[in-house]
Subunit: 225 residues, 2 copies
DNA sequence: GACGCAGATGACACAATCGTCATCTTGCAG
DNA sequence: CTGCAAGATGACGATTGTGTCATCTGCGTC
């Protein structure tokens, strides 16, 4: 994890640098806003620690400026300003967390870990979907069951995605036709049946518990437990 | 935004409920761990506010339990326990933020907004990619330029994705062959050239500034500014 | 300015995907 | 138990996607 520490006081820098490194961060430091801007725009940091009291610029302005130029890494603000107003302002203007000095090192570390963890978790959640032993990866457009990759056609993947997003709930033919196939009007067709059939051939292979259930006269359900 | 407030003291509940509603949250409340578990597992909340001092269960245990059962919404801990140890423990065991009582309403609101905003931003970032006026949507597998949707084949999409993820940097043929086509050994082929050609026909259409540049003898670059 | 080669382009063939249809199977009502 | 209708299955043809090859173009060198 790459971390940018923006802090002008050498004592605090020294106080933080080693423990942060011990905690597994690759730490780089900037002692004023100008340097921080340069570093942050160039390198990709996983998290930033910003002291508000900088010699050349207000820390809040620095953060606003970074956000403007597309830096979206989480920012933890470190500040001697303890008032509610200051805290609220910091949190609203692009800071993701706010810690007042004096602070406990352990708490700083815990909060940093959290910022990073939250971001990873959110990405993970947005790009993957799991239903029982079924797993969809939307970035790679790959599905797997029990760890084994399924060789799905594009359409099959979309169909399975829809089923997974509605796992445990009934899905009718007309829902599928309009949502997956984008057919407003629904002519006499059995595309859905055929695709479900093909999908079953790949997902519910012999020896596995069948996940795609038929509800006669209604539609289909994907088992979710 | 749906918010679950887990708090046993009626005064604090009352104190918070209206302001939270005013801030735009649909608030539901639980006065002990059991009720909170039920509600949280059933409904999808965008954020949880949990008081640690519950009558039937320690709040930390509740959070651990929720995480276990797959609830991944961000949690803000509210607590009278002010020690560093308590705060660190709360933050490490599944809490995403920790506010000690007494607290300022404005700060609670600011921190809540932050939790939600962060999560949305991270999802957004993970599922979309923008390079100049080019935009890729990985969930829908759609690319657009200047708002206009491009009709790309699967392979073309993957190629464009690779170019975008390396925008501004040189991409050689052999990089593309191994990363996009998965070819370890690289026979004499011009697939890359052909696909770049086809991609250009859709991305760099007439009247637009060409984004896919050729570096003779080296490879290609996607312009990023 | 001519030449040579990297890259662009156009045409083709093969492969994968997708929707339709005809037929078979099976759950269920009577 | 029987018959029917919903759904499953198998096969086919149209369409689209993808890689190869032959040829053309134009950049950079001499």
């Amino acid at each position: 994890m790459r971390l940018l520490l923006v802090e002008d006081e050498p004592e605090i820098q020294d106080f933080l640098k080693q423990p942060l490194a011990d905690a597994g961060y690759e730490v780089e430091t900037a002692k004023d806003g100008r340097i921080a801007s340069q570093l942050a725009s160039a390198g990709k940091y996983d998290v930033l620690v910003v002291d508000l009291g900088l010699p050349d610029q207000d820390g809040i302005d620095l953060i606003l400026q970074l956000r403007q130029s597309g830096v979206s890494s989480p920012v933890l603000i470190l500040s001697a300003r303890r008032s509610v107003d200051d805290r609220v302002k910091g949190l609203e203007q692009g800071g993701d967390d706010y810690l007042t000095k004096p602070f406990a090192l352990a708490e700083l570390l815990a909060r940093l870990r959290n910022l990073v963890r939250r971001k990873l978790a959110a990405s993970e959640e947005a790009t993957r979907l799991r239903v029982l032993d079924l797993e969809l990866d939307f970035i790679r457009r790959r599905a797997s069951r029990g760890g084994e990759v399924l060789n799905l056609s594009p359409q099959e993947f979309v169909l399975l995605e829809y089923l997974c997003r509605h796992a445990g709930r009934v899905v009718t033919r007309s829902m599928l036709l309009s949502e997956v196939w984008g057919m407003r009007i629904q002519p006499d067709t059995n595309v859905v049946d055929v695709h479900i059939y093909r999908l079953r051939g790949k997902v519910d292979t012999e020896g596995r518990e069948p996940l795609i259930k038929t509800l006669r006269g209604i539609g289909y359900v994907l088992k979710d437990r």
